[in-house]
Symmetry: C2
Subunit: 188 residues, 2 copies
DNA sequence: GTCTATATCAGGATAGAC
DNA sequence: GTCTATCCTGATATAGAC
């Protein structure tokens, strides 16, 4: 079926982009993974720019849905924060893949304006969600030492993404855990 | 002179690598910038892998020297920490370039084992320096809320690198400032 | 040390048959 | 929707003259 091929292409492209960056995977790689010829990929995604836009759109939706899930299933702010930390931890795949946002941000110069705009929008959405978590954490006192919720949100996204990079450098998820340990310790 | 050409090549290569990533610059780019033919670059750096090793070596030395300078010129732990924050802030070049370590870490898959080992070593050195700063900060009380110095060091490097990424995404140094605001506020 | 010339390969993309 | 065939460009790298 056509849509299955499209989904398979997105799946492989996302893994490849997260493992090797936007410049690090090619239509030839995807063709081999999915089992069709590289020219056929252009039927589904005429250009690599359009493919990467589709990638960001799907990624944004997926993560937003997971954040909504976390919100729905946790009452305490600390549990919500730990839920996001765990989401990032899982995305590491034992240090083999970054999250798409970190990978694409590093590839900034190679990406279309449209994709870069989507990355900014994604970041804003995550920060907004984190901000509400810290605001709640200030109220329910489940997160210690909360100052300004918005600034805590900016700092937290930075720590998570920086921890991803550090873990990727050593291909070791334990490095991620070390980098977020101070943050995790604030959760009661 | 020969060595001037070599230095010029390293200078341009570093800027290019930080702006566009390891996969994002070529010998043709360097040739144009330095004013020689691309084949001539191979006289100085036979392969791109050797060029990137030289880049990391020089980068490690440069940053280590700057850290030593900061240590020498500041008594208080908070001033040392702020000195490093400012070093990273400057390296952003108004959001146009990442630091070499972040850029190369994201290019992990494309780099030689030798370069990746140098990146790990560089990270360890920075963490070690930060750890000593936080240990001092616990003693002189110039940094508030210090828990375990080593964990604070890991978290701080992550915040700095994550803040770099965030600022790069929007090409706006103000985004860096927002991401490190909580850290800076701990400095007395 | 730098040049010209070239080898080799891989990238994204298109045309047109089936 | 997928194929074969092809185009064009640009990448790293080498050989050998100057």
């Amino acid at each position: 079926m056509a849509s299955d091929t499209k989904t398979a292409l997105l799946d492989f492209a996302e893994q490849a982009a997260r493992a090797r960056g936007f410049d690090g995977f090619s239509y030839a790689d995807l063709a081999k993974s999915v089992g069709i010829r590289k020219a056929s990929i252009h039927y589904h995604f005429p250009t690599k720019a359009e493919l990467s836009e589709a990638l960001m759109d799907r990624y944004h939706e997926t993560i937003s849905a997971k954040c909504a899930e976390i919100t729905a299933s946790s009452e305490k702010a600390s549990d919500r924060l730990l839920g996001l930390v765990n989401l990032y931890r899982t995305a590491l795949n034992e240090g083999k893949t970054l999250c798409l946002c970190v990978s694409f941000t590093a590839s900034h110069q190679s990406l279309s304006d449209a994709v870069n705009a989507k990355i900014s929008a994604f970041r804003s959405a995550i920060v907004k969600w984190l901000q509400s978590v810290f605001a709640l954490g200030k109220d329910d006192a489940s997160i210690s030492g909360v100052s300004e919720p918005q600034l805590e949100a900016f700092a937290t996204l930075a720590v998570l993404e920086g921890a991803h990079l550090a873990a990727r450098a050593d291909e070791d998820v334990a490095v991620f855990d070390q980098a977020v340990a101070v943050l995790v310790a604030r959760c009661k």
